[in-house]
Amino acid sequence: MPAVSVEKLSRIFGTLKAVDSVSFEVNRGEIFGFLGPNGAGKTTTINMLCTLLKPSSGKATVNGYDIIKQQAQVRRSIGLVFQDSSLDEYLSAEQNLLFHAYAYGIPGKERKKRINELLELVGLKDRRKSKVRTFSGGMKRRLELARGLLHEPEVLFLDEPTLGLDPQTRHHIWQYIRQLQNKNNLTIFLTTHYMDEAENCNRITIIDNGQIIALDTPAKLKDCVGGDLVTLKAEDNRTAITELKQKYRVEPLFENGSISFYVPKGEEFIAQLVFRFESRLLSINIRRPTLDDVFLKLTGRAIRDEEASFQDQLKQASRQRMRGR
């Protein structure tokens, strides 16, 4: 039985198809990534899977339980870290965990033990008595992660677990996530729009405008780009492009004063190129394809253009303001 199974799931807000007939399966014990730009429908999908939002159509099961007919069982077997903070800021870290333990009916002895263990795990043991409103963003995020794990769920949903965190904390959180996967055979379903993070997943679904446009392992997805990305600058770019097209049969793209194209086996290609190229070269750069390239290839746009990252900043700022009150 797959951990999560989704069949033609849709959610419509007014006329907007936020999630448009998506189907996929998540295997037990895997880290499954949902990757897509702002507004792609990631959070909407998670909300439906965790029974907070009713689907407009389609079916889904989590741990074999139907998300519409067996909501209580679904809720009992999942853990969640929401995109926006869902802690009670006026309670202490420990009180937040206690509330959670009571709500999930964790028996007395276990309760103390697990709360201690988890506070240790996320490095908040010495701040357990502090009110959450005195925590930094990263500390809150870690506390939420601890809370999501407290009742030992079988599937953990993480909605952008590292949004707005510094690289060090992001790294820490990823360490926990992998640890959990190995130790407890926990299934993890996460969303992100950080491409580098998505590489940590066993499989990735790329979603755009509510539709799934690709689903595979990171390596296979990168293969579909068609090799390594070579970027070069020449003294006379126009003749260089012509030469590249005629002699090397690649499809160069000219952008921001530099020429770029994909070739299989990039290193060998460059060695040849340097040796034989007739136009005078100014610089050469080669890099392995990233998931950014995959997204660009599939949709024709970058996943995080200027506007998107600006929206992110706005989102962050407004969240901060909400909390500050």
């Binding site: 907070l52 006026y90 999930y104």
Partner: protein, 263 residues
């Protein structure tokens, strides 16, 4: 079934923990009833004197002031739902296996407990106002206040299930609170006012709550002018409580339906 009970106590427990850590609420919910007591009590008592033998004006409005304290605190249940929604904590509650009805009942009984405590604290004023209180009164008062409070909490919850912002909720509550209080027979006996006012007062469920509290302090009002008569029947304390409870039950059921439906 167990998940309903767990919902009730877990959610109520948090309300109480929150209350203990927020002292400003304690003071602010006393302010308005106290101002009313002082202004109206001092303002009218000499002019009005005794309403019926043995009951002066301050003694008459005092039970209503307690009802007011309970009302103000009970409506906090709704505030706390809107607050939780705004700050995201409601999601944590809603994805937990707690039963939705249990969650609502927990909010209602949590704020009702606080409201009863606050109402009881108003008893400290009784000796100053020359109102005799007995142990039996206190024991009777607790369940009476609790029922009234759960019912009014349900009203707050029903509104809150439809509200997305603190400001919107506060607006509606402000609009409702004055008519609820002034047309509940706190400051005058409802049997002796112009017909329109009488009708509105007798539709207002708080009227029966005020009358129930009044009867706890002043004894049965069934034969006196300060009682509440509906269709020729003067309400006893039990009639009042049953009516308020029925009203609360209807509101809470509506709130549960509305809560379940909201995404």
């Amino acid at each position: 079934m167990t998940s309903i009970f767990r919902g009730i106590w877990v959610v109520a427990y948090r309300e109480l923990v929150r209350f203990v850590s927020e002292r400003s609420r304690l003071i602010s919910s006393f302010a308005m009833p106290l101002i009313f007591l002082i202004v109206f009590g001092a303002g009218f008592s000499r002019m009005i004197g005794t309403l019926v033998p043995g009951v002066d004006y301050v003694q008459f409005i005092y039970p209503g002031i307690i009802a007011m304290t309970v009302l103000m605190n009970s409506l906090m249940s709704g505030v706390s739902v809107v607050w939780d929604r705004e700050f995201g904590f409601l999601k944590e509650i809603l994805v937990s296996p707690l039963d939705r009805r249990g969650i609502l009942l927990g909010k209602a009984s949590g704020s009702a407990t606080v409201a009863v405590l606050q109402g009881m604290m108003m008893l400290l004023l009784a000796p100053l106002l020359g109102i005799p209180i007995s142990f039996k009164m206190i024991i009777t008062l607790i369940p009476v206040l609790f029922v009234i409070s759960v019912s009014i909490s349900s009203l707050g919850l029903l509104i809150a299930t439809r509200m997305r912002s603190q400001q919107g909720f506060q607006m509606i509550i402000q609009l409702m609170i004055m008519p609820l209080i002034f047309l509940a027979g706190v400051f005058y006996p409802v049997n002796n006012v112009p017909l329109v006012m009488e009708i509105i007062s007798k539709v207002n469920p708080l009227t029966y709550g005020v009358d129930a509290i009044r009867q706890v302090f002043l004894g049965s009002t069934e034969t006196s002018v300060i009682g509440v008569t509906v269709f020729g029947h003067t309400m006893s304390i039990l009639d009042n409580i049953l009516l308020v409870a029925a009203f609360g039950f209807i509101l809470l059921s509506l709130a549960a339906v509305s809560f379940n439906r909201s995404d």
